[in-house]
């Protein structure tokens, strides 16, 4: 039936290193699909996805993730917005 991505455009993430926008969440899911299609064994897919996602995070300046379970979901107002340490958010 093919891969399908469900994406919440207001779902941000607070990681151990900083915060992430919903856009990064979409990138994360796209990477998952690509990693699966590349034939990476199931047991290695999560870690491979995080490694690749972190490469993107280093370029965008968003928070990296220690592993696939690093992060707590939080609502932000738009796809390019992310939480700031003072409880606000920055967008764009």
């Amino acid at each position: 039936m093919g891969d399908k991505i469900d994406w919440n455009s207001q779902e941000g993430l607070i990681t151990s290193d900083g915060s992430q926008s919903p856009a990064t969440g979409l990138i994360h899911e796209i990477i998952h699909v690509l990693v699966n299609e590349a034939g990476v064994p199931n047991e290695q897919q999560d870690q491979t996805t995080i490694l690749k996602e972190n490469a993107v995070n280093l370029q965008t300046g968003e928070g990296t993730r220690r592993d696939h379970n690093d992060g707590a979901v939080g609502t932000v107002s738009g796809p390019t917005c992310r939480s700031t340490e003072d409880g606000g958010e920055v967008c764009g």
């Binding site: 039936m1 891969d3 779902e11 993430l13 969440g25 994360h28 899911e29 998952h32 199931n42 047991e43 897919q45 999560d46 696939h68 379970n69 690093d70 992060g71 707590a72 979901v73």
Partner: protein, 153 residues
């Protein structure tokens, strides 16, 4: 010795199997589903795409019963599921929890007996169609409905 342990444990599971009366609650979010951050059992219970409540175990097809409840075994390499996309709670008719099985995209884990199994894609596909059929609330997905016609007699 390990093999003997496997045989004994498998026998125990088969003997206590699900041939008797009882009910099962099933929470299913997709065997191929991955979440941005791992999903807990509590989160699955709350937001599962498919919920089946108090299904009489006798209504399970032979295939569904076999795939879900039998042929679990000891595995030293398997990891206990972290991103929970499946949970089955098997209860006796008086409501007492008899067996609990959780699953991620790779393993089914029998929490009660500390045993594992791996479903292949065909088995996962059969089960998702079976769950769709018995969902407590109708699943509105025409593509899936069309896909699952092949399993209807």
């Amino acid at each position: 010795m390990v093999r003997l342990k496997y045989i004994i444990l498998t026998t125990i599971v088969l003997l206590q199997g699900c041939g008797e009366s009882g009910e099962v609650d099933i929470y299913y979010d997709g065997f191929w589903t991955k979440h941005r951050v791992y999903q807990s059992e509590a989160q699955l219970e709350e937001t599962a795409k498919i919920k089946i409540k108090k299904l009489d175990i006798k209504l399970l097809s032979d295939e569904a019963s076999t795939y879900l409840f039998y042929n679990f075994g000891v595995s030293n390499n398997a990891n206990i599921p972290e991103d929970i996309v499946f949970m089955a709670l098997i209860r006796s008719l008086d409501g007492k929890l008899k067996r609990k099985i959780i699953g991620d995209g790779i393993y089914l884990y029998d929490v009660t007996n500390n045993l594992f199994k791996v479903l292949d894609d065909d088995q996962k596909d059969y089960l998702r169609c079976f769950f769709t059929k018995y969902a407590s609330e109708p699943v509105i997905d025409e593509k899936l409905e069309s896909h699952c016609i092949k399993y209807k007699n």
